[in-house]
């Protein structure tokens, strides 16, 4: 049995006017950590809400832990853990009271499943008498994860768990997810951060409600067509303009401290021609190196294609 299956799920809002999810299909193996990667408004939360039985799909079928999301929603609600994108605990209750409350409504107790949350809970235990609203962002996420885990769910849904959390806490959070994976819990996680995608077993890239690619992070980047170059110079601002004006440029965007550039045609002398062009423009301390594509590069590449197709058809 698959942990999650989606078969041509479509979800629209405003009586069909807004298409949020467009025939999305994917499957999760048991114990798999699956990432849903895409920018804001790509349809990630809609997919989460359909799978957590909060919204009815307009079309298609989906199952969670073998149960149908429409007909057997009560059975699903018994066995999943859900952490919504927004911090959704009681701000005026203390850490301990929140945890106790959620344990009780899930018919369990903190003691019963303490082993499962121990690693996470020990970090927030010193603050257990503090009200949840007064916790830092990272602490809040840890508490929310504890609350979502307290009943030992079969499938865990984490909707953008690291949005608005500092870099250190984000790393810690993913460490925790890794440990949960060893407990055999299937995790569906969404994130707008491409660097987190690499930590999943498999990822689905989503944009405009469409699933564009489903594969392991390693295979996903291998699918990048052509070569990718990192370009640096003394004047980065002018470099961007110069590169975008260059007729051989397919795409160019700022990525950290360099420009990621791809050519329309990867001919052997492409780099030397570009070097001449840029030197002619007065660029100094020029560095052009070929680099392996990252998930973000691939994402931009395929969404570009998507947009081109759109503009051609329309």
């Amino acid at each position: 049995m698959k942990a999650i299956t989606l078969d041509n799920i479509t979800k629209t809002y405003d009586k069909g006017k807004v298409l949020a999810v467009d025939k999305a299909s994917f499957e999760l193996e048991q114990g798999e950590t699956f990432g849903l990667i895409g920018p804001d408004g790509a349809g990630k939360t809609s997919i989460f809400r359909v799978l957590t039985t909060l919204l009815l799909p307009d079309g298609g079928n989906a199952t969670v832990a073998g149960y149908d999301v429409v007909k057997q929603y009560e059975l699903i609600r018994n066995c999943i853990g859900y952490m919504p994108g927004r911090f959704s605990l009681y701000q005026d209750l203390t850490v301990e009271e929140n945890l106790n409350f959620f344990a009780t409504i899930f018919n369990t107790s903190i003691e019963e499943n303490y082993e499962l949350i121990k690693d996470i809970y020990v970090q927030i235990e010193p603050f257990k008498t503090r009200r949840a609203g007064k916790l830092s962002g990272g602490m809040k996420q840890k508490l929310a994860l504890c609350c979502a885990l307290i009943h030992k769910p079969v499938v865990l849904f984490l909707d953008e768990p690291t949005t608005g959390v500092d870099a250190v806490s984000r790393v810690e959070f993913w460490e925790m997810l890794k440990r949960l994976k060893y407990q055999g819990i299937t995790i569906l996680v969404s994130t707008p951060y491409m660097d987190e995608a690499a930590l999943c077993d498999r990822i689905a890239l989503i944009e405009g409600g469409k699933i564009l690619s489903i594969d392991s992070p390693a295979n996903t980047v291998k699918k990048y067509p052509g070569k990718l170059f990192a370009v640096k110079s003394a004047n980065m601002h002018r470099l961007l303009h110069d590169l975008r004006d260059y007729e051989g440029t397919r795409s160019c965007f700022t990525f950290g401290d360099s420009m990621h550039l791809s050519f329309k045609q990867d001919s052997d002398n492409a780099v030397s021609t570009l070097t001449n062009y840029l030197t002619g423009k007065g660029q100094q301390q020029l560095e052009i190196t070929e680099i392996p594509a990252g998930i973000e590069d691939y994402f931009i590449r395929i969404t570009e294609k998507q947009n081109e197709q759109h503009s051609h058809t329309s």
Partner: protein, 373 residues
């Protein structure tokens, strides 16, 4: 399984009480408003009235009547004018507003008192201003009681002087004690409907409703757990209002207290159901509050008859008043509390109220959303 449901319910209700007791604004609203309203009205009621013009008609002119009149004259509340007026003359002076009250001693006042140990004094008050009328007759009664106590100490005779109080123009004293049932309806409506609506909408706003929905909690459990705290708080408030009206406003509960609480519980349930309905249609705490005020508070104040008589309203407004639950509750409380009537006198109102409540509960059960949209 049964046991698990009780545990869930207990945890949920406990959580609701945490919310209530940790939010000062809520707390102030829940307990401050009822007390403030009763005290406010109570202050108006017990406002001191000084130097009211009254006329004393002494047909007895004996030892006892003179003594009592001296006491009345000594009081700062009365401005006494002595005259032997006929009944028609008294009425004319009351109507013209020259005097507020007339006190009449019958011819054989002292002989009745000394031989029979009891006598009567007639008191006629202008009750078109019910507050003043009750206050004045209360002052007079306490002066007479004073006299009785002194007489008992001196003569060792237990005199009993009975003031026969007659309220002219407004014999039922409409206005004065009537605000208590009105305030009760208003406060219960406010607490139950508005607070429940706000409490549920808050869960939606904070996103916690999402987690509650994605849990094994049964929807009916959420409803019960959300409403029980406000039911309890409302009953507590009801008790506070009743205690205040008895001890601060000297307004006795004439009928059965148990019946009063039973009828109130019915009304509270209808208010809770209204609050739930409002929460279904609201997306923010603000809108829930506004909807409650516009659609519940206003009709309760306008259409229950406690501020404006329903009979004087246009026909269509009278029609609307028939579906306002507080109208029936107001009638019931007036009957039980002020007139001391039993269930047989109010079964019709009770039945209608129960009917409205049932309809509201059914609508609620049907409209409860098991999903987000």
């Amino acid at each position: 399984m049964k046991n698990a449901v009780w545990k869930q319910l207990y945890a949920f209700i406990q959580k609701e009480f945490y919310h209530v007791f940790r939010d000062r604004k809520t707390l102030l609203m829940l307990f401050g408003i009822p007390i403030a309203q009763v005290l406010l009205f109570g202050f108006v009621l017990s406002n001191e009235i000084k130097n009211s013009k009254i006329v004393v008609c002494d047909y007895a002119k004996d030892y006892a009547s003179q003594e009592i009149i001296r006491k009345i004259e000594a009081s700062k509340y009365f401005n006494v004018q002595k005259a032997t007026l006929t009944h028609d003359q008294i009425e004319a002076s009351l109507r013209s507003g020259d005097i507020k009250m007339a006190v009449i001693f019958p011819a054989d006042f002292y002989s009745d008192l000394s031989h029979l140990n009891k006598a009567q004094i007639q008191v006629i008050a202008d009750a078109s201003d019910p507050n003043t009328a009750t206050t004045l007759s209360n002052y007079l009664t306490s002066i007479i009681n004073d006299y009785q106590a002194e007489a008992l100490a001196q003569t060792k005779k237990p005199y009993s002087i009975i003031p026969q109080v007659k309220m002219l123009y407004n014999p039922e004293l409409l206005g004065a004690p009537n605000f208590v049932p009105g305030v009760m309806a208003l406060v219960l409506m406010l607490i139950c409907a508005m607070m429940t609506a706000v409490a549920i909408v808050k869960e939606k706003e904070m996103g916690t409703m999402e987690i509650l929905l994605v849990s094994p909690l049964k929807p009916y459990l959420v409803i019960i757990a959300k409403t029980i705290p406000y039911l309890l708080i409302s009953l507590l408030n009801l008790a506070a209002i009743l205690l205040m009206s008895v001890f601060l406003l000297n307004l006795a509960i004439k009928g059965s207290v148990i019946l009063l609480f039973a009828e109130s519980t019915l009304f509270i349930i209808s208010c809770l159901a209204l609050g739930l309905l409002i929460s279904v249609g609201s997306t923010s705490q603000m809108s829930a509050m506004m909807t409650s005020q516009m659609s519940l508070m206003l009709p309760t104040m306008m259409l229950t008859g406690f501020m404006f008589p329903i009979e004087n309203m246009p026909f269509w407004m009278q029609g609307i008043s028939y579906i306002v639950p507080s109208r029936y509750y107001y009638t019931i409380v007036k009957a039980v509390m002020l007139e001391g009537l039993g269930f047989t006198a109010i079964w019709r109102e009770t039945l209608v109220l129960a009917g409205i409540t049932l309809v509201l509960v059914v609508i609620n059960v049907r409209s409860f959303k098991i999903r987000l949209a």
